[in-house]
């Protein structure tokens, strides 16, 4: 196969893209309606693969026949949906097991009657607690109790903006306040609470990310479309840079006018 570049075969490049669009426009239109859900599925998959990279063995739980029932909103009982179990034997021979849920409701660390539903929840147990005191009717709410919560992630299919990033700290404070304290932590494989965003950080949001990642046990991950995120998650060096419940992340050096921008283009950035 001849490898060329779009510059050397410009007309052919555009023609190939047009042919691709014409050939697959039905499939594209059909699946494009589910892009938001696909993004959340993609993030869920990244967390599963993160645990795999950390040596955990994955097992699907609660399949309905051969159907993985994905919980795509906060409603519904946990027992009606599928999830993954991750198991690992640690260096001391102790078996560590966690359960990875999607859209599972979690109890606040401060108030037993306050709940919120992060997109991805890692819990110590798959036995959900129940209450009939949550809704105005006697409808039951199933949730992960605060004692069973290991970590959580929020997936946002959006371009990051400051309010979104700062709001995440509110969820962090409510669910995992220990991730905001400077007390010494024990080493842990578990990913620190993370905000996973499909868009890309700009300069102001990068600053917020750096600031929070240096202060708290938290990850802000951007550019999460599949190929790039795979590079991020699964290269050894990147994996080690992520914050876990036992250590803070290694923030990327903040953009400086003099170092990262080639050929004196720093002023262009300021003018945009």
């Amino acid at each position: 196969m001849k490898r060329t570049t779009p510059y050397k075969a410009a007309a052919e490049f555009e023609d190939d893209l047009q042919k691709f669009a014409n050939k697959f426009h039905v499939t594209l239109a059909e699946h494009a309606y589910k892009t938001n859900e696909y993004f959340e599925i993609s993030c869920y998959n990244l967390i599963l693969r993160y645990y795999e990279r950390k040596g955990y063995k994955l097992e699907v739980k609660n399949l309905k026949g051969s159907d993985f029932k994905f919980k795509c909103n906060p409603n519904g009982f946990l027992k009606n949906f599928s999830y993954f179990k991750a198991t690992k034997t640690d260096e001391e021979g102790k078996v560590v097991t966690v359960f990875i849920f999607h859209n599972a409701t979690v109890q606040s660390a401060f108030d037993d009657k306050v709940f919120t539903t992060p997109d991805i929840v890692v819990a110590k147990s798959d036995v959900a607690s129940e209450t009939t005191d949550h809704y105005i009717t006697k409808l039951k709410l199933t949730y992960i109790s605060k004692e069973n919560l290991v970590t959580f992630c929020e997936a946002k299919h959006i371009t990051p903006f400051p309010e979104l990033m700062i709001n995440f700290i509110g969820t962090l404070h409510e669910l995992k306040p220990e991730c905001m304290s400077d007390e010494e932590k024990t080493a842990s494989d578990h990913l620190a609470p993370s905000l996973m965003i499909s868009g890309t950080f700009g300069k102001p949001t990068k600053r917020i990310k750096s600031s929070y990642e240096s202060r708290y046990y938290v990850n802000y991950l951007d550019n999460l479309f599949d190929d790039a995120s795979v590079r991020l998650f699964f290269s050894k060096s990147q994996l080690n840079k992520l914050a876990t419940l036992g250590k803070k992340g290694e923030p990327e050096p903040e953009y400086e006018k003099t170092d990262k921008i080639p050929h004196g283009l720093a002023d262009i950035f300021d003018s945009i």
Binding site: P6, V60, S66, D67, S198, L224, F225, A228, I272
Partner: protein
């Protein structure tokens, strides 16, 4: 410029407004920024100006990937993870609300991704190309691509 505007329209033909509106907004904003960068006399990216139609095609392709295809690829990757862990059950499916991503649908997504990957491979466009936040970063990726050479590989089995 008109030709490449039509390319983004072709790529997003019949896609829902929830996707096309932000995609077109970003496309138009980035076009303005590219024009602004090129208008600077000391800009090292002016070398790309003579390849304007290509730059606009690359921009259309990048945004199409970031807004549409990347997430489909993510869902497809989850399907593969699921299949790997389903044990003896060869054919599994994913229910997302009322919609079901089954083996047949997954094969269609897979075909779409293979076809797109072939285009990427042919033109030496790698996933890192889509990683940019500032438009200048996108132009830097385009400039890196400009320096690549053509070569032929023997793909016969």
């Amino acid at each position: 410029m008109e030709q490449s505007t039509s390319l983004i329209k072709i790529l997003t033909y019949k896609l829902p407004g929830a996707i096309t509106i932000p995609l077109f907004t970003e496309y138009n904003n980035r076009l303005r920024e590219i024009a602004q960068i090129w208008s600077r006399e000391n800009s090292s990216y002016r070398v790309l100006k003579e390849h304007e139609p290509v730059i606009l095609s690359l921009l259309a392709m990048s945004l199409f990937y970031r807004h549409v295809l990347g997430h489909m690829q993510g869902a497809n990757a989850f399907y593969k993870t699921l299949k790997q862990h389903c044990g003896s059950q060869q054919e599994c499916s994913i229910s997302i609300g009322r919609t079901v991503l089954d083996y047949k649908q997954q094969r269609r997504l897979e075909a779409l991704m293979i076809s797109f990957n072939q285009i990427q491979d042919k033109y030496q466009i790698y996933p890192a190309f889509y990683e940019f936040s500032e438009t200048a970063q996108f132009l830097k990726n385009c400039k890196d691509l400009l320096t690549l050479r053509e070569y032929e590989t023997d793909d016969t089995i």
